[in-house]
Each structure stands twice: as structure tokens, then as C-alpha cells.
Symmetry: C2
Amino acid sequence: MTLEELRNHIDVLDRQLVELLSERARAAETIGHLKAATALPVYEPVREKAIYANVRAANKGPLPDIELTHIYERIIDVMRALQRNELASERNAQAVALGQGTGAQTESDAPETETKQ
Amino acid sequence: MTLEELRNHIDVLDRQLVELLSERARAAETIGHLKAATALPVYEPVREKAIYANVRAANKGPLPDIELTHIYERIIDVMRALQRNELASERNAQAVALGQGTGAQTESDAPETETKQ
């Protein structure tokens, strides 16, 4: 394959990756809703360990496990932020329903509203 | 879907993601070989811009573009390290072929051999 062909191939793979990451994000959002309803925490170290174990078990190379883990740390970080936003919205909606306006949003200026550039 | 079912779904998606990332890494490795043969640099800002543009164009949510870009920054970082290792190996092989032993490896203690934990 030429450089051009390889790059076209990578572009196709990237679009498929975006699709999978979006589907993963939708599942994470739904889990965020469930967590809001059952008061489960966003950060669950045991589950995260299981995710890394699954990823390493599926890895047949050429990326070393450590590099794949680097990518996954970022993926999990982004998904966790998505769940936190989901939880913050749910709490806000609950507060509004209880007639407390947007109290839930302004109360937490720390982890839950963590913003990224 | 229950939490359990959603997590099983995520595990399946993660195995597919690992497969796509591995295929992308193989293509990046081949590009590394081509770059070694044609003396092209590993870091090509114009190409990287094109990758981000392709990713953002494919994004239909729910992840904001900025979060997807965060994930892609890590992916590109890892792939670039892979190409650098590929180039270092090629140069080393060339040096050995020229009877210079492992000179090429020890010569460059800067960007090309950048290691990660």
C-alpha cells in the first residue's frame, strides 16, 4: 500500500472508532442514569480494573499492553466526566421538580461540574 | 437494560475497539516503515489536523468534539511513539548492516527513543 492508501485506510478506521466510542458513551450515559437512580458512585475501582483486564486480554498487538492502557485511561476519564455531567443534570432536574430551582447545580462547584478545555 | 447487561455491552464494544486500535497501529507501523525509507518526519502537523477534522466530522455525539479530541490526542501520541520505535529499529538494522553495530540506537538519546511508563 502507498502512504496515501494507508492514510485513507486509517481515516476509515477512525470513523469506525468514533462510532464505537459514541456507542460506548451512550451506554455510559445510560449507566449514569441508573447510578443516579440507585445512588451508586461514578468512580468504581473494581469495575475499572475489570475493564482494563478485558482490554488487555483482547490485545493481540502490535500495541504493547501499556500503550493500550494509556489510551484506555483517557477513554475512561472522558466517560467518567460524561457520567458526572449526567448525574449533575439528573440532580438539577430533581431539585427543579422539588421547587429548589437550580440549587443542585450551583451547590457543587467541585468534582461533579469538572470542566475540560 | 440492567447495569449488568450494559456492562457486558461495554465489554463487547471494548474488544471491538481494541481490534480497531490494533489495526490502526499496524497501519501506523507500516507508515513508519515507509517514512524510514523516504526520510519523512514522524511528526506531520498537517496530517494530524486532517485526522482531527475527520474524527470531528464523523462525530454524531453524545461525546462533545472536545472530549473526543482528548481521546484522539492520546491515540495519536501512542501511534507516534510506535512509529518512532519503528524508525529507531530500522535505523538500527541499517547501522548493523553497515557494520556499525548498535550505534544508531545509542546515538539518539532524545525524541526518537522517548520511553513511556
